[in-house]
């Protein structure tokens, strides 16, 4: 059974179609990357899977079940998302504890104090941070909280939308290590959106290169590492990365 199965997916924002006929199959336990420049539609696919971009046609199924066009409670315990901007993804007036307990409260899960403590340990945050407000944390610490929040409902699949692109290199390394360790320990499936090929090389097994709403090429990480991507556009991206 595939973790995520996408067939003939078209997504629109208002009048404009931003994703055209995308097919993807991601087996359970894999770490898969969507790569492309801004406007290539890669984030939109994540949002459609999560239910945040409801205007699509085609089919999306998650763990064998067809996905509806909206957010629903069943799916929320299977799929969770981590956003790009660690400053915008935490409510400015809520403590870390409140942000982390909320998913438990929604699903009526008890024992919240202990679970919050446990997840903070998992993402490598000291218990001192538990009752702080987001503005008292650094960017990297906030991103750890965002990851912890996504883990609260023990999902199988994590949608990662540029999770390190707003962070400094040294902090990026910490978050990448954390993501890699969590995947190993909890057997997660990752769908990562990024424009950074080295990050893909470190974290992912396979990748799809996207351009203007279409998938140009699907390749193995080994191909990426060897610099052997097939399509000219993929080679362009590769060249830009190497020169930059």
């Amino acid at each position: 059974m595939n973790a995520i199965d996408i067939q003939n997916l078209d997504i629109s924002y208002g009048d404009t179609k931003v994703v055209h006929g995308v097919n993807l199959a991601i087996p359970e336990g894999e770490s898969f990357a969507l790569v492309g420049e801004s406007g290539s539609g890669k984030s939109t696919i994540l949002r459609a899977i999560a239910g945040l971009a409801p205007d699509w046609t085609g089919s999306i199924s998650v763990l064998g079940q067809a996905r509806s066009h909206h957010i629903d409670r069943q799916v929320s315990s299977q799929v969770q998302m981590v956003f790009q901007d660690p400053y915008g993804s935490l409510h400015p007036r809520k403590t870390i504890d409140a942000a982390l307990s909320e998913p438990l409260a929604i699903h009526g899960i008890g024992n919240r104090g202990e679970r919050v403590e446990a997840v903070l340990r998992d993402v490598g945050l000291d218990q001192r941070f538990r009752f702080r407000f987001p503005h008292q944390l650094s960017g990297g610490q906030r991103q750890r909280v965002a990851i912890a929040r996504a883990l609260m409902l023990q999902p199988k699949i994590m949608l990662l939308d540029e999770p390190t692109s707003a962070l400094d290199v040294s902090v990026q390394a910490e978050i990448l290590n954390l993501l890699k360790r969590l995947r190993r320990e909890q057997g997660l499936t990752y769908l990562l959106v990024t424009h950074n090929l080295p990050v893909v090389s470190f974290l992912c097994d396979r990748l799809a290169v996207m351009r203007q709403g279409r998938i140009v090429e699907i390749a193995d990480a080994a191909q990426l590492k060897a610099g052997k991507l097939n399509e000219p556009y993929s080679q362009e991206l590769l060249a830009a990365t190497a020169s930059g």
């Binding site: 239910g51 998302m81 915008g88 935490l90 400015p92 403590t95 929604i106 538990r130 503005h135």
Partner: protein, 300 residues
């Protein structure tokens, strides 16, 4: 450990301590702002005056003394007397009750109404938004004072009708603000995160959107109170607000009009009361904006 240390702790150990700490930080930030302190003091004095008016006022606000008509300010009559020999200072003191009632009731009626309408319109969007905001926009593109005047004219003069008229004309502004705020918050990633965790619209609106709207509402309502005081006084001045012999400040100025050239104090003194109280609300509102603005949150 002192209370202050507990409040300012870097790593609070409970949710309550964290929230108390935040409230304390906002409070101390206000205390550092001289205009906020001044505004707060003025409003505090207004409230205390209204509560203790019977004990503060040296004379009755309505008792006439025709032998002491139109006396200039003196040590006996601090603000002089009016054409019926009533002590203006006592009347200004009692008038604070009327002003406070109007301000309080208008705020209590119009702010929650506007907040709710705006948050619902902003969150749900679509036709709900179009209908609610259509009504709001019609009200907003009409002159507030004139509408209030027309309403009072139809309802009949009096303080209760003045309050209703002002409240009817002031909620749309709050609905606009609440909607604009909701729209910016609605697509924030932390709201999407709650929705992804399965949180429904009621939870999102009440627990996440309203708390963020309220601070800008508090600021706006505080600033608007000056306008409400002026409108109420204007209604009183025209003769449609509080009716004689109630010591309403606008009505008192209206009475003093006749004497403005020779007995200036009759009209001037209640005017100063209006200005000081309005300025108090303005000062507090202006500095609340500096302190509560979420954009400056990280700085303190």
């Amino acid at each position: 450990m002192s209370t202050r240390d507990w409040l300012l702790a870097d790593s609070p150990t409970s949710r309550m301590q964290a929230n108390a700490g935040r409230a304390y930080r906002v409070f101390t930030a206000l205390l550092r702002n001289p205009l906020a302190v001044l505004g707060g003091l003025i409003i505090l004095v207004l409230v205390l005056t209204a509560i203790f008016a019977p004990w503060i006022a040296p004379y009755s606000p309505t008792g006439q003394n025709l032998s002491a008509r139109l006396l200039p300010p003196s040590s006996q009559y601090w603000m002089g007397t009016d054409e019926l020999g009533r002590d203006i200072f006592s009347r200004v003191i009692w008038g604070s009750q009327i002003t406070l009632t109007i301000v309080g009731l208008v705020a209590l009626i119009s702010a929650p109404l506007g907040l709710l309408v705006g948050a619902i319109a902003g969150f749900f969007g679509g036709w709900v938004d179009r209908i609610l905001m259509g009504i709001t926009d019609i009200f907003l593109s009409l002159p507030k004072l004139i509408l209030a005047l027309a309403f009072v004219a139809a309802l009949g003069p009096g303080i209760n009708n003045a309050i209703i008229a002002i409240a009817i004309t002031s909620w749309p502004a709050y609905a606009r603000i609440a909607r604009a705020e909701t729209l910016t918050i609605r697509n924030a990633e932390y709201i999407q995160a709650v929705q992804l965790a399965g949180g429904g619209p009621i939870r999102v609106i009440i627990q996440h959107i309203l708390p963020l709207c309220t601070s800008s509402m508090i600021i706006r309502v505080t600033l608007d109170m000056a306008g409400v005081i002026l409108t109420a006084a204007g209604l009183g001045f025209i003769g449609l607000g509080a009716q004689p012999p109630l010591p309403e400040w606008g009505a008192m100025i209206s009475r003093g009009r006749t004497f403005i050239l020779d007995q200036w104090w009759v009209a001037t003194m209640p005017g100063f009361a209006i200005i000081i109280v309005s300025l108090g609300f303005c000062f507090l509102g202006d500095s609340l904006r500096d302190v509560l603005d979420p954009k400056s949150e990280g700085k303190n």
